[in-house]
Every structure is written in C-alpha cells, then in structure tokens.
Amino acid sequence: MEPILTAVIPVVIIGVICAAVLVIASKLMAVKEDERFPKIRECLPGANCGACGFAGCDGYAKALCEKEGTPTNLCVPGADAVSKQLSEIMGVEFEDVIEQVAVVHCAGDCEKTQDKYDYYGIPSCSAAKLLYGGKGSCTYGCLGLGDCVNACPQKAITVVNGVARVNPTECIGCGICTKTCPQKIISLVADVEKVVVTCSNKDKGAVTRKVCTNGCIGCRKCERLCPNKAITVVDNCAVIDYSKCTDCPDFGLCAKNCTTGCIMLSDLSGIHRIKEEK
C-alpha cells in the first residue's frame, strides 16, 4: 500500500469513529430544554436588571419554566406588555405589573446642609463614604457624587444641587441604583402619587437639626395625623407603610404638616415639597 494511504486511512477511521460516537452521544443524552424557555426569553427585555428577583432574564425565564406558580408580573421594566405575553405563554391569567420608580430618601441639598471638609478624592460615593462617612455633615444623606447616575441604565438620575434626583418618567424601576448607593437611601416605590419621606437620618432630633434643615427629627406629628396609621417613626426617622397608605381621606395632610418638610409628595414630574418654607 502507498505510505500516504497507510497514514491517512487510520486517521480518517479514528476521526469517523469519534464523530459517530459524539453524534450518538449528543442524540442519546440530549438535555430536554423546555420549549417555552426560548419563547419566554424572547419576550423579556434582556436588560438583566434583576428587578424580578432572579439572576437576570435567563434566571427569570428558567424559574417560570421550572417552578409552577412563579408570577408572570415580576418584570418591572417590561411592564404590562411583557406580563401579557408571559401569561399567554404560560397559560395563566394576566396580572397587572405594579410599576415602580426609584425614590431618593434625601433632600439635603447644598442650602440645607453643610460640608465637613472639602473632598478632592476619587469622584465616587463609595470612595467618599470611606473618609469619615462622606464630606457632608449628615452621614446618612446623599453624597452627591453620582454612583447611581453612572449605574442607571436609563440615565434617569441626575445630581441636582448636591442631591441625586430621579426622573420618574424615565425610570423603569429596575432597582440597580438601590443596590449601587453606598448610603442605601434609594428605594423603589410603587408608581405615582405617593407620599415620600425624603430623609434617612437616624440620629436624634437635635443632632439631625444641626446637620440638615430638611432632616426628619422624629417628632411623630405625622404618626398622629395619618388617618390610616401608615406612618411610623423608626430609629428617629419616619417610615411609610405603603400597604396602608391608600384611599387617604385627607391626602397630603402629613406632607403639609411635617415640621421640617421632609415628607413630600411625588408624581410623574418628581418629588415636591408641599410645606411652605418659613
């Protein structure tokens, strides 16, 4: 036999055997993929924001396929349109998505609070926080260096006068900023027309008063006034239980009567101070 053939033939035979084994193996041991998975995955926006509580869109699609009874209305950025498609694929009833917007629980801008020192370091909130809890006199408030601005996929956050502000019409409620903020003062609040506490200071009233004129001093006036008993003061800072803050007979009462004006109203144009400045 030609020497070239003695070399080529064994290699070809081994190659064909390997290929055959691989083909058979992949056919025999194919992992069954749920046929709904690619469909669901196509519906989801693919932002991998994690607002649904799963690790990205793939994680949510997987949970929908594998776990019975996973709600179809968890995708906040996709809103009602995605929920409708998902419930069609899953064969369950359509549920309305509760749209959420991010809210910054701080309104201590440059006029209301002072600086402890001048900061010339890395322009990042998490870096500034390492230096005596940030340059502002209030160690709980917004640092104003825009970690959330950089993290926001919708560019819905801007730093206005030293405090981060969310544009509710742009915000898709993905919640990335709530995880990025080193002060943890951004939270997601269901949709529009709500009352918001714009302070996160947990110090006693006298201390809070010294560092910021907007700060919640924990006077409990709102607690007494609220007809639904939705507001409680926890650690010297008012907290609203949004499950109770519904059908208010005297909407905005708390905001109008707040001692420092840190309870504000929010709607599609942003957060508004109701109380008149003295």
């Binding site: 290699v11 081994i14 390997c18 691989l22 193996a25």
Partner: protein
C-alpha cells in the same frame, strides 16, 4: 510502590508542567486572576489529563506502534482528546449537571491545551506502563493545580500593591511568573536524594 511515589512527586514538584516544563502557560496566565476560577480550571485539567491518558495510551500501544504508525501520534492524540472532552461534556451535562456547571467553560477550553497533549505524549516517550502513566498524569494535574493556586495568590497580592505605571498588567505578571518558576528550581535533586535508586 516507591516507583509510583517517585513518579507522583517528581510530576508535582520537579517536573511541574507549568513552572518547569513551561506547558499550559496560557491558562496559567489567563485564568489565575481569581482563586475560584483557578481551582475550577485546575480540577478540570486533572480530570481531562487522567481521561486523556486512559484513552491515548492504549491507542499508542495497541494501534499505532504495532502498525509502525508512531509518527501519527500527535495528530491522532489531538483528535482523540478533543473528541473525548466533547463526549465528557455531553455526559456530564446529562448526568451530573452540578459538576458540569462548576467546570463550566473550562472544559471546552482545555480541549486542545498543550499541557494535556504534553502529558499524553511524554507518558509514551518515558516508556511508562499504563499504571505508571496514570500516576504521572495525576501528578501532572496536581502540579498544575498547585501552580495555579499559588500563582492566583501571588496575583491577588500584586493586585493590591503599588506598581509603577509602566509595569502594570502583563509585565509585572510575567515577572512574578518567572520568579515563581525560579522558586521551583529549588526542588531539583530532592527526589534523587530522597529515594536513591
């Protein structure tokens, strides 16, 4: 028994595949940035080295050598190892999904790793029996594991230190790799004196 211990120890320390033979440098520099990925990669390498030796040694001894086709060694080994790794991946995905997930991308990555091919060829060159070849593969895999884990420790230290601008990144990594490799020269001669033949 002594022979197996000698083979194992010399494969791990003296003839370390990464630091003495300079095989498998690509994953050594590429995947050693984090400890968990370095461990995952090394475990996959140990696994594949053993599988590859178990598959290629019989092919060489019973197929190539009797037919005078020893010169086809390299191409046949590459073919067989690549097919084997693919097969292992399919099997793992079906039966042990957790292992498949933890080995992850590293399994296909080492399909054509030179350290794996190196082990199989050097086993033949050294004239090892099947058992000796398997022990050598295990030792080589463990040596790779040791080098990866050590170097990921070195790199995490480098990461946190103040390095001159022009030296950052690859230059300092390669220098550190050279010094780590130099340190392994200290093992040469140890085996000969521990187990005099």
């Amino acid at each position: 028994m002594t022979k197996f211990i000698v083979i194992l120890l010399s494969a791990v320390f003296i003839n370390n595949y990464v630091l003495s033979r300079f095989l498998g440098i690509c994953p050594f520099l590429g995947v050693s940035k984090k400890l968990d990925s370095a461990t995952g990669m090394s475990l996959a390498v140990i696994f594949v080295m053993l599988m590859a030796t178990a598959a290629t040694w019989p092919i060489q001894k019973f197929l190539l050598d009797p037919n005078g086709l020893g010169y086809l060694q390299t191409i046949v080994f590459i073919l067989v190892i690549a097919a084997l790794v693919q097969l292992v991946e399919i099997v793992l995905k079906r039966y042990i999904p957790s292992l498949h997930k933890s080995l992850g991308v590293y399994l296909p990555l080492i399909t054509t790793n030179c350290a794996v091919l190196g082990v199989t060829i050097l086993n033949i060159d050294a004239g090892y029996s099947f058992a000796e070849a398997m022990v050598n593969s295990l030792g080589s895999g463990l040596g790779f594991f040791l080098a990866m884990v050590m170097f990921s420790g070195v790199r995490s230290t480098i990461e946190g230190s103040d390095i001159p601008e022009s030296f950052k990144g690859l230059p300092v990594t390669l220098t550190a790799a050279a010094i780590t490799s130099l340190s392994f020269l200290g093992f040469s001669g140890v085996i000969e004196n521990l187990f005099p033949m």
